[in-house]
């Protein structure tokens, strides 16, 4: 018996065996935890060792809890020392990376997800616009001079500008919902996320003041829209 114990003591521990204390404390990651559980299920010796570890775990907690708490002297000493410290100016120059990371850390995963998707949509739109401009500006290989009597004057462009609005979507809005809404209103995103607001353009024709106000009213009542205001 003694010889067997000695032999066990002298051998190198296996990886799973070494992880048992963390399994008992519940601090293993899911993968290692699964590995340990599988090993325990198929190895009675390991299971016996685990039972011993559970005992050690419980007694270590008991022992530490019995140590009590510090007196108020420690706290008094600390706050006296803090009071004696020279006054510090607030740290105003946070580095850019920290602010950038902090901003994204504050956003919920869902907001992040749809913001990223909208960003991608905006990029696609921009690519489309650039493509259209390039196509329209492409020099013709052969042109003849002609006169058109019904050409619209450049001065009239302002009159046909479709209505635009600044829109903030609800935090739980899904990309699919936003796409449906854009289709429904024949809207396109023409400006990126500025403080959570997107610049949208509706249709391709000008609307009367009443039409714009009625459309914005409908938009404002949409579940996934938290704010919609007209903008030039």
């Amino acid at each position: 018996m003694m010889a067997t114990s000695k032999k066990i003591l002298e051998r190198e521990p296996s990886e799973i065996e070494m992880l048992l204390p963390w399994h008992a404390a519940g601090t293993l990651n899911a993968r290692d935890s699964r590995r340990v559980e599988e090993a325990l299920a198929g190895d009675p010796k390991l299971a016996r060792q685990y039972a011993v570890i559970r005992e050690e775990y419980a007694e270590t907690i008991h022992l530490n809890e019995s140590l009590g708490a510090p007196s108020t002297r420690a706290m008094q000493k600390l706050f006296m020392a803090i009071d004696a410290e020279p006054e510090r100016k607030p740290h105003v120059s946070l580095n850019v990376a920290a602010r950038f990371t902090g901003f994204f850390a504050r956003l919920s995963p869902r907001t992040l997800a749809w913001s990223a998707s909208l960003g991608a949509l905006a990029l696609l739109l921009q690519a489309g616009l650039i493509g259209a401009v390039l196509t329209n500006n492409r020099p013709a290989s052969f042109e003849t001079a002609s006169l058109s009597t019904d050409e619209t004057s450049d001065r009239d462009i302002g009159a046909i500008t479709p209505p635009r609005a600044l829109v903030r979507f609800a935090a739980d809005a899904r990309v699919a919902d936003i796409t449906v809404l854009l289709d429904k209103y024949q809207a396109t995103i023409i400006g990126g996320d500025k403080g959570g607001l997107f610049r949208l353009q509706f249709g391709n024709r000008a609307m009367t003041k009443d039409e714009v106000s009625a459309m914005l009213g409908r938009l404002q009542r949409e579940k996934i829209v938290s704010l919609a205001v007209a903008t030039p």
Partner: protein, 166 residues
């Protein structure tokens, strides 16, 4: 700072006390630790849990405090800390009090073994966190705890406690 202190001071105190084995020194330690935290709050990078950061500072302060004291002081205080009103391991076993014997033997481990046992079982730190606090590789963390447990088994065996492992 009050919220941080309120939330962590007891665990910091207990970790420190297990290392320095003197309530007086452990109390001094916690004010030093939290004062350091107050001074260096801007340096905390958030890569680890606040408790891990606090325990690492506590450990450093405790080792510094231990180095300041003479060996004679240490021996006296260590003896005082281990000696308490409960029975020694053999007597405890006679009374069939295995738990008491186990606690006695946990106290009998070396500082190096005690701290790793406490960090894993009581402070519930992962392998990575213990490595960060103690400043050793993760594999060393695992083997050190294994050998601490082996030592504990030897101490218990010497006290007449058989637990079925090793």
């Amino acid at each position: 700072m009050q919220v941080l202190y309120g939330r962590h001071h007891v665990r910091v105190f207990r970790f420190g006390l297990r290392l320095v084995r003197s309530e007086q020194v452990a109390e001094d330690l916690i004010s030093e630790v939290f004062l350091d935290v107050w001074r260096q709050a801007g340096k905390f990078e958030g890569r680890s849990a606040v408790s891990t950061w606090l325990l690492a500072i506590t450990r450093f302060k405790a080792l510094t405090a231990l180095r300041r004291r003479t060996d004679a002081e240490l021996d006296d205080e260590a003896a005082n800390a281990i000696e308490d009103a409960s029975d020694d391991p053999e007597v405890a076993v006679q009374k069939k009090d295995t738990s008491n014997a186990l606690r006695k033997c946990l106290n009998g481990l070396t500082a190096e073994h005690r701290e790793i046992v406490d960090l894993v079982y009581y402070h519930e730190k992962s392998v990575e966190e213990v490595a960060e606090i103690v400043g050793i590789p993760e594999n060393t963390v695992k083997t050190r705890l294994f050998y601490a447990r082996k030592k504990l088994a030897e101490l218990l065996k010497a006290a007449g406690v058989e637990r079925g492992w090793p």
